[in-house]
Symmetry: C2
Subunit: 356 residues, 2 copies
DNA sequence: TTCACGCCTGTTAGCGTTGTCGGCAAGGGG
DNA sequence: CCCCTTGCCGACAACGCTAACAGGCGTGAA
């Protein structure tokens, strides 16, 4: 049973290719072939090698492999704050999909998306010899970074702007916002207010575009949108302003968290939802269905975004990519925070005139 | 200006050590020293080398370095679903802290934490030659995996159980639950009901321990805890059961999401919070302050957990670790969902008797 | 002057894997 | 019989870097 000289000692270091080769009585190259191109080795030899691989619990040293092939099997993801629901979900799906295809993923979460921080993160990932990078870049400020990436690195962006030299996957924010707005108009509201996200977030701006577009197309009055910071706090504070204005009967809020704050502000002001004011959110976080009342919102399929991003990156790495921008369709989920516009004189009317 | 034979051609492949050495007129070894032990090189030579490094935009090939040193500068994190608030926050903090110390992090998100899936994830990370691994293992089922890790790999667990052969960092769930329970008792409630998390989650069980411990110590009645699945949906459904029981005046809920569902169930049943029923959550998610009413809850400092985990892993990798279990103190955040127990006969009393 | 020593730098070898090429045996056609 | 092909396998070099050792030079003491 003893193959070499001494007894079967407690192996201290992991087995390497040479150990397997020795045990199987073949050359290192043959072992390598068994692992990488099995059909180029005779079945009998292959079986002997595989047995040795199992016996020694051999796993290839990826650093060594990478050094010679140039490929690492590692993908990089650079993202803003992965605590946020959107980035976290997208990251999760990218990782799951990548793993199924044999890739690992290495991450770099950034506090902010400046040109400097993005390029720095990409450089670090690159030093690890990642085969490709996905950048979750929902900020205006990321564009500058995206335009100065090393040209030979396969990159795909998620939620990036429009004049970007890399393929982009994104939810169609404009369409989602338009759907939300049309839904409110179809319920009889004369117009729709908007509580948007921060000015430097692309999603926020696209949602404003979509919302404004519908109102203008329908000839409705367009009130200047308020801008929050995605937090429930800002939704609450700006919500109090809107709650104090009796002409407000329908609000499209830029995300579900702000919508939560908004609902609270409306309740405190004594304005009932949806009887007096209708509210629509954006994202469909898991909690949204349990807000009071359950929130009508626009669902983003982050999972689909992640899968698309991965596959696009795969194409890019294979050099066969050409598709430039892939849009994922959002879906309006109608719950109980939206309802028919209140009839004039029944509360929430624009202004109270005698007669009219 | 031309250094070698031909003109300064558009460099297509990234510069390597040799290129820098040639440009600086030194040997490769000297360049390596400048990068790894700068004080062992004369200042003048060092300056020349650094100039060449900058000019060629040289960055070391980590795979090559790793192949010879055995260290990769990469840490692995294996976790359950990183979409959840706790794991996502912890991961984020680990990554931030690690980056500041020059480490990158590679992730493996698991759908479930079985022995098999954990060991598989660790094996994959190991093949990438990570220097150490943090395992976020809030499940009972993870223990088996944690007991069969390769002995020579530095590992730190977060939120793991108690008979584990690796150091563990965790929030003191028992203390947090005890604080929540005592808070409710101090408001005059006769006892406290509990809506707990899934049976296979350690956190859920520790919270039950803490809650039960206080009630028993105070000689209060201990009702069998209900078990949800962390989702707002389960909080809502089980909440309806509790809401229908007029003797319920105080509920400690296992996490904020379920508390959200619970609040909704109470509202639907016409039971006012906190006048008739007090509710405490756990986690302090960013939304909790904007629930209706704002939620009293137990704050977990995931950031601190992440930092501790990283530093413990660092010690472990240096071979100087001995500390076995590090507890992070949670903090009770009192908001508006808790209030004095209703006086008998004022609604919410146990049962209505004439006289009494 | 000579030797010892410290400082700085270069030479050699090797980390574990895969690409390339070449060799050997078996088989088929001339 | 030879020659050429085909299938299978092994030797060698290379990927880019660093550990270990060796050597040149200047300085100070014997």
């Amino acid at each position: 049973m003893a193959e070499g000289s001494d007894e079967h000692s407690p192996r201290t270091r992991p087995a390497v290719l040479g150990d397997v080769a020795a045990l199987a009585g073949v050359s290192a190259m043959t072992v390598s072939r068994v692992l990488n191109a099995p059909d180029r080795v005779r079945a009998e030899t292959r079986a002997r090698v595989l047995a040795a691989v199992r016996e020694l619990d051999y796993w290839p040293n990826l650093a060594a492999r990478q050094l010679v092939t140039g490929r690492s099997g590692v993908l990089g993801v650079v993202s803003i704050d992965t605590t946020l629901y959107g980035p976290a979900s997208t990251l999760y799906c990218i990782e799951q999909t990548a793993r199924l295809s044999g890739y690992s993923v290495s991450i770099a979460s950034l506090g902010m998306l400046s040109r400097r921080s993005i390029l720095e993160a990409v450089r670090r990932l690159r030093a690890q010899s990642v085969d490709g990078v996905v950048i979750l870049a929902p900020h205006e400020s990321a564009a500058d970074g995206l335009r100065h990436l090393p040209p030979d690195l396969p990159v795909v962006a998620v939620d990036a702007g429009e004049d970007i030299p890399v393929p982009v996957v994104t939810v169609d924010q404009r369409a989602g916002a338009a759907r939300a707005t049309r839904h409110l108009l179809s319920l009889g509201h004369e117009t729709v207010w908007h509580l948007g996200g921060p000015v430097d977030w692309l999603d926020a701006n696209y949602r404003i575009d979509g919302w404004r577009g519908v109102l203008e197309a329908e000839g409705r009055q367009v009130h200047e949108p308020l801008r929050g910071d995605w937090s429930p706090r800002s939704g609450y504070e700006l919500g109090r302003r809107l709650a104090a204005d009796p002409s407000v009967t329908a609000v499209f809020v830029g995300n579900d968290q702000m919508a939560l704050g908004m609902l609270r502000a409306l309740r405190e002001a004594g304005r009932r939802v949806p009887e007096e004011v209708s509210v629509v959110g954006f994202d469909d976080v898991p909690e949204a269905a349990y807000f009071s009342p359950p929130l009508t919102t626009v669902r983003q399929e982050f999972g689909e975004v992640g899968r698309h991003a991965f596959h696009l990156l795969l194409e890019r790495m294979a050099g066969t990519a050409q598709s430039d921008r892939r849009l994922v369709e959002p879906e309006l989920v109608v719950r109980e925070s939206t309802g028919p516009a209140p009839r004039p004189g029944q509360g929430g009317t624009r202004d109270v005139r005698p007669g009219g």
